[in-house]
């Protein structure tokens, strides 16, 4: 018998949800077969079998949440019982535990790609494994901690000291008070909200799942640590809409339907090539100037959001972007993205136009230098010369990390972007 153990999909993972079984009792399993799916904070990962055998028992039913790493989740029976490994116990003394050599005991099932979702920022942070683990648990970002170990390495004591740093100021003014999820993450003390005057029994507490925690931590960190500012501009998109119609007519046979957002992605990528200073990330070691426009697109999913990436979008055709986006968005919604498909973009786009939002101001997705917030395209009065006219107008806001993108660079980028959007033909140049 061989136990299949709950695998750790990342070094910091302690538990996960066993989402689905792809095998049932009696199935023959070969090494490499996908036998189950496991859900972590952002992704669903496939579990491959390492051993061969017949499924003898499923120990953890599908849909079980909070399954601890290394718990036995299923048992394989050998077709012909495997032989014992090397050193067999000597018969010498009466051992405290059974002296029978266990056949190939509990091997963990190898995980496919490790999830590094919790890595903070792009620049490498040197920290001891223990410091990393404690930081993770305490929801402390390592990037803000000064290391006291050799060569500035962050050690356990640094994280423990950082933990007691002052909490963000309380009670924001009524207007546009952002939700403050991270501030309330203090170790399982529910009554925090009650201390703030919300009576017990008047609310339900939904536990923070891994995704919520990551969003809370990353957004709080970004909003607090990145000196950011917005730049807003109006774009007329009648020509774009017209072009889109013609493009879609041409692509109809291929079954491709390009959205305004697909064109926005393409224009973003080309604008980043035109103004490469905006395709940059701040790191303590220097500014990382990215070679490609890897455009991350925010996709709302159940329980949060995720930002799949259209890699090297500058070189892709609209049809390609459209197909890629459709596939990514679909797999994002079913939480089937691989880690590398949503980590490591160089610029983000968030579009709330379809919800009728006119303009908004997104929070920077670290370590990216900018994020573009795209509003609704709607008919608005515009002034041409001294005449009032009607045009389809879309408002976009570029939020910039001032450490890499200052006002002039941001403005130049918006100019370039406006050029591509308002006159789509120029994208062919």
């Amino acid at each position: 018998m061989t136990d299949i153990l709950m695998p750790a999909l990342s070094p910091t993972m302690e538990e996960g949800t066993l989402a689905k079984w792809n095998v049932k009792i009696g199935d023959v399993v070969k090494s490499g077969d996908v036998i189950a799916e496991i859900e972590t904070d952002k992704a669903t990962m496939e579990v491959e079998a390492v051993d061969e055998g017949i499924v003898d028992a499923i120990l953890v039913p599908a849909g079980t949440a909070g399954v601890k790493v290394n718990t036995a989740i299923a048992r394989l029976r050998g077709e012909d019982e495997a032989a014992a490994p090397a050193a067999a116990p000597a018969k010498a003394e009466a051992p405290a535990s059974p002296a029978v050599p266990a056949p190939a005991a509990a091997k963990p099932v190898a995980a496919p790609a490790p999830v590094a979702a919790k890595a903070d920022g792009a620049s490498r942070v040197f920290a001891s494994p223990l410091a990393r683990r404690i930081a993770d648990e305490k929801q402390v970002s390592l990037s803000g901690i000064t290391g006291s170990g050799p060569h500035g390495r962050i050690v356990k004591a640094d994280v423990e000291n950082a933990k007691s740093a002052p909490a963000p100021a309380a009670a924001a003014p009524a207007a546009a008070a952002p939700p403050k999820p991270a501030a309330t993450a203090a170790s399982g003390q529910i009554p925090m909200i009650e201390q703030m005057g919300i009576p017990a029994g008047s609310y339900d507490l939904v536990p923070l799942d891994a995704m919520k925690k990551v969003i809370a931590r990353r957004m709080t960190g970004s909003f607090r640590d990145v000196p950011h500012f917005p730049l807003t501009i109006d774009l007329e998109i009648d020509r774009l809409l017209d072009a889109r119609g013609r493009i879609n007519a041409a692509l109809e046979k291929q079954g491709v339907k390009v959205s305004v957002n697909d064109i926005v992605i393409k224009a973003v990528a080309l604008a980043l090539k035109a103004v490469p200073d905006a395709n940059a990330s701040y790191t303590p070691e220097g500014i990382a100037m990215h070679h490609h426009a890897d455009v991350a697109v925010a996709v709302a999913i159940d329980g949060g959001l995720i930002t799949p990436i259209v890699r090297a979008a500058e070189g892709r055709t609209l049809a390609d972007i459209s197909k890629t986006m459709k596939d990514l968005a679909e797999r994002a919604r079913t939480r089937k993205l691989k880690a590398e498909e949503f980590q490591g973009g160089t610029f983000s786009v968030s579009n709330l136009g379809m919800m009728g939002i006119k303009s908004f101001n997104s929070i920077i997705n670290e370590p990216q230098g900018c994020i573009l917030s795209v509003g609704v395209g709607e008919k608005r009065p515009v002034v041409r010369g001294d005449q009032l006219a009607i045009a389809t107008v879309m408002t976009v806001t570029l939020t910039c990390d001032h450490r890499v993108v200052d006002g002039a660079i941001g403005a130049r980028w918006l100019q370039a972007f406006k050029g591509f959007i308002e006159d789509p033909v120029t994208m062919l140049a």
């Binding site: 750790a8 290394n70 116990p89 000597a90 010498a92 266990a102 001891s128 494994p129 648990e137 356990k156």
Partner: protein, 468 residues
């Protein structure tokens, strides 16, 4: 008066001479004062000569098991004088090595006994020179590394009598191997001497006042050690208090009290190994206002004594009384004085006992970890199922690891068995680097080695042991 040196070190044990070398490396003009032999207790009367004796004992003991390996000799025998002479030769060689190192680093060696007087920026050092006369020298900083000596309690006879009652000093250079021996105290030093003399056939009884031998070790290790020693014919009196030790015409006599009952034991010789007292006397420390606590100098986290320019390291500054602890403090202290960021003073300090079998540990025992509030995960792996151990015929002992269940921090490791003193540094490294169980599990241990038991012990703590 112009300062003679940047740094003066008093005492040349593994604390003092390492401090002097590091200071010289950092460009400090350095002197070292020694009243006796370069290398201190460690090289001359401690770590090294005992290991030389123990090796002789170990080889001799193996001779009686040669049959297990398909070998045989006519009639094993030993020449006790030669065993002791070898041990002295080894000490001498290392003592000369320290002299060479001092010369190489241009460290001035002042032979004589030092005493301190008030001074600024640091106390003046007055040396009563071996060659006669006195010399007063002063430096920016002074490091006190005067070490320690065997604790004695003359009131109940626990003190050397110049003949039959020994401390480690006498036990290192006896004229003959005693037929019977009483060892008072079951710490590392007591157990090592007991192991050595037992290996040569002496009838040895170890007396311990606490409820188990090697009381600083993990309880499971203490238990396993006692069993292994008893198998070799060592005898123990546990929880037994010595009320009187005295020399008699034919040997020594000990009055014991245990559990309300008294007992009298006799033997040819006795060794007093009940602890260590710091060398804090006749140094002028009281005049300077140096704080003392139970015979040791009190220091802060940079080894400073609180008196301007005066530092203390090693045995004189308190437990654990170990050579590598003295050297570690030496490096930290000198780098602090020189303004260089040094190693963490609180690094885990491994401890080893070179008996047969060996014992080695680092960090917290399981009981202590629990007392400190940790929820623990504990792993164990016995050598009797380790391939290399079986091949070598060294089946005794085990490796035990203690993890913090929440963070995966390795809190402590405890081993007993062949060559475990050579393996404990692996866990010391892991603890110093703050690895968790994940890195330890991911590390590849060579096969076949005894060290695989370390890996398995970690796996066992997380329910993944392979060969058990």
């Amino acid at each position: 008066m112009a300062l003679d040196f940047d740094l003066i070190v008093i005492g040349s044990g593994p604390g003092g001479y390492v401090a002097a070398i590091r200071a010289a490396q950092l460009g400090l003009k350095t002197a070292i004062v020694e009243r006796e032999l370069l290398g201190g207790v460690c090289l001359n009367w401690g770590c090294i000569p005992t290991k030389a004796l123990l090796k002789s004992g170990e080889v001799f003991e193996q001779l009686s098991h040669l049959g297990d390996y398909g070998l045989g000799v006519e009639k094993p025998s030993f020449d006790f004088e030669k065993i002791v002479a070898r041990s002295r030769g080894v000490a001498k060689q290392l003592n000369q090595g320290v002299a060479y190192l001092m010369k190489k680093h241009k460290i001035e060696v002042i032979e004589g006994e030092a005493r301190l007087e008030k001074g600024s920026p640091s106390p003046k050092v007055v040396v009563a020179l071996k060659a006669g006369g006195a010399r007063t020298v002063q430096a920016k900083s002074v490091i006190l590394a005067t070490g320690a000596r065997a604790k004695v309690i003359p009131a109940i006879g626990l003190a050397p009598d110049g003949d039959r009652i020994w401390t480690y000093r006498e036990a290192l250079t006896p004229k003959a191997c005693p037929k019977s021996l009483l060892v008072v105290g079951s710490g590392a030093i007591g157990v090592e001497f007991a192991s050595f003399y037992r290996a040569l056939g002496s009838d040895v009884t170890v007396i311990e006042a606490l409820d188990r031998i090697l009381p600083v070790e993990d309880e499971e290790v203490s238990k396993a050690a006692q069993k292994a020693f008893e198998k070799r014919g060592l005898k123990f009196r546990i929880g037994a208090k010595v009320t009187k030790l005295a020399a008699t015409k034919s040997g020594v006599k000990i009055d014991l009290e245990s559990g309300g009952k008294s007992e009298v034991l006799t033997a040819e010789r006795a060794i007093v190994a009940v602890g260590i007292d710091g060398n804090v006397e006749n140094l002028g420390l009281e005049t300077l206002g140096v704080k003392l606590d139970r015979g040791h100098v009190v220091i802060d986290s940079h080894c400073a004594t609180g008196v301007a320019g005066l530092y203390a390291i090693g045995d004189v500054a308190g437990a654990p009384w170990l050579a590598h602890k003295a050297s570690h403090e030496a490096i930290h202290c000198v780098e602090h004085i020189a303004g260089v960021a040094g190693p963490d003073i609180a690094a885990p300090i491994p401890g080893c006992t070179y008996a047969q079998p060996q014992i080695a540990s680092v960090g917290l025992t399981e009981a202590f970890a629990k007392k400190a509030g940790h929820e623990v995960k504990v792993g164990r792996f016995p050598f009797r199922v380790n391939g290399k151990a079986i091949a070598s015929g060294e089946l005794e002992g085990f490796v035990k690891t203690v993890f913090d269940a929440k963070t995966g921090q390795l809190l402590g490791a405890h081993m007993i068995g062949g060559e475990v003193t050579e393996m404990i540094q692996g866990f010391a490294l892991a603890m110093t680097m703050e690895t968790t169980e994940a890195e330890l599990m991911a590390t590849v241990f060579p096969h076949p080695t005894m060290s695989e038991a370390m890996h398995e012990s970690v796996l066992d703590a997380y329910g993944r042991v392979l060969h058990l």
